[in-house]
Subunit: 234 residues, 2 copies
């Protein structure tokens, strides 16, 4: 891996556990109002609207907007299904911030601090800047900059998002390694000219549901963030 100067990270599912976090936050906000849902099913349903919503932007059918705005629209689509039609706007806005209050996987912060000794680190997420900032503050993620969709004005896996991240760091595409738990993200990053590292996050959608390993060629395949740090020699 000589020549790699920076690591850029997918965040939802790779660095943080969105599923149990969204379920917890939804429960904390809605159960005092008398709602009793299958909270995990609610989190899954909310996230399931993600790719269709992304595709609206990537295809150019709607202009780019921040993920916070997209998340709010996704929430609108699932509200009727969960009997949340009467929830008031301020509560919905608070609920939408559930995505800002997710916890890292247990090794994320520790391994990022190890990796920071050798590499520049930044998220290359579809999440917007303030969402990434809030997750970093909550979890002590030592990012050097917040890169990704908001600075590129488009969403992964569009190739420009990865390339803009590298260019913002003043690096050639091949000097940057994309780290993700999702093979499709890494396939696009490789097409964009970046190096790639897969990290297994086997519990993303519940125990044993995540990718145990990459389904595409990658430069590094790691079992965890700690393993990634070790494999990158730090």
């Amino acid at each position: 891996m000589e020549g790699v100067k920076a690591l850029v990270f997918d965040v939802f599912g790779t660095v943080v556990d969105w599923r149990t976090g969204v379920a917890r936050e939804a429960k904390n906000i809605l159960s005092p109002l008398g709602y009793s849902l299958d909270w995990i099913a609610f989190a899954d349903a909310w996230r399931a609207e993600y790719q269709p919503a992304m595709e609206e932007v990537r295809s150019g059918r709607i202009p780019f907007s921040r993920l916070d705005v997209i998340h709010r629209g996704m929430l609108e689509r699932i509200r009727p299904r969960f009997g949340l039609q009467k929830v008031e706007e301020p509560v919905l806005q608070e609920l939408n911030l559930a995505w800002h209050r997710l916890d890292g996987w247990p090794d994320s912060s520790r391994a990022l601090h190890r990796l920071r000794k050798r590499f520049l680190l930044a998220p290359c997420s579809n999440g917007n800047i303030s969402l990434m900032v809030d997750l970093a503050r909550r979890n002590d993620f030592p990012w050097d900059a917040i890169l990704g969709a908001e600075i590129a004005g488009d969403y992964k896996p569009k190739l420009r998002v990865y390339q803009v991240a590298a260019e913002a760091l003043g690096l050639r595409h091949e000097q940057v390694m994309m780290v993700a738990a999702h093979s499709n993200d890494l396939e696009a990053a490789a097409k964009a000219g970046l190096r790639t590292a897969h990290v297994a996050r086997p519990d993303e959608f519940g125990p044993g549901t995540g990718e145990k390993g990459p389904t595409v060629p990658v430069d590094v395949a790691a079992a965890s963030f700690d393993d990634l740090a070790t494999k990158l020699g730090v």
Copy 2:
């Protein structure tokens, strides 16, 4: 100052000492090649090309490009004046990175760490992202994100640059305070709807040359970064 959630900072002159840093780096690079200049005069001449170069972009006469590119163009303009016509391209590229290797004023890092306990912190500089990242790594500036010209696609004091910084943090304009040693920067930030804090950096252009205090109305006027932290109650 209730309601202020984030501080955004001018960097050149306010957080870092560009003048002695550029002089030192230029000397380190050029004197082994046999050049002997008035290094401080060289730094001042390079910086003197800044406002005219900015104005080319702000007026729309040339498209936005990163400050690294602008710095390289500014260097071209002063080379003949300093007898540097024969310096080769790789050396010029290295010289251009002098701006990435500046030192903070003595209290900058310490006070930023204090301020970080209460506020989100980001540069709102005309410097590009990689330049800000390099200065942060060198000086241990604990930024939450890198905001400023590169994410806005325009240069201060255009009002959108300040507003985009606030919006990227998910905040209303008045929830963000711009910190600078230059009254014209603060005047624009106030017009953009931000709160403002002036910090005296009296030695920016040599001992006793900087603004001792603001020449425009500001919300806070501080004698140093340490004083700013104290005045903001942290």
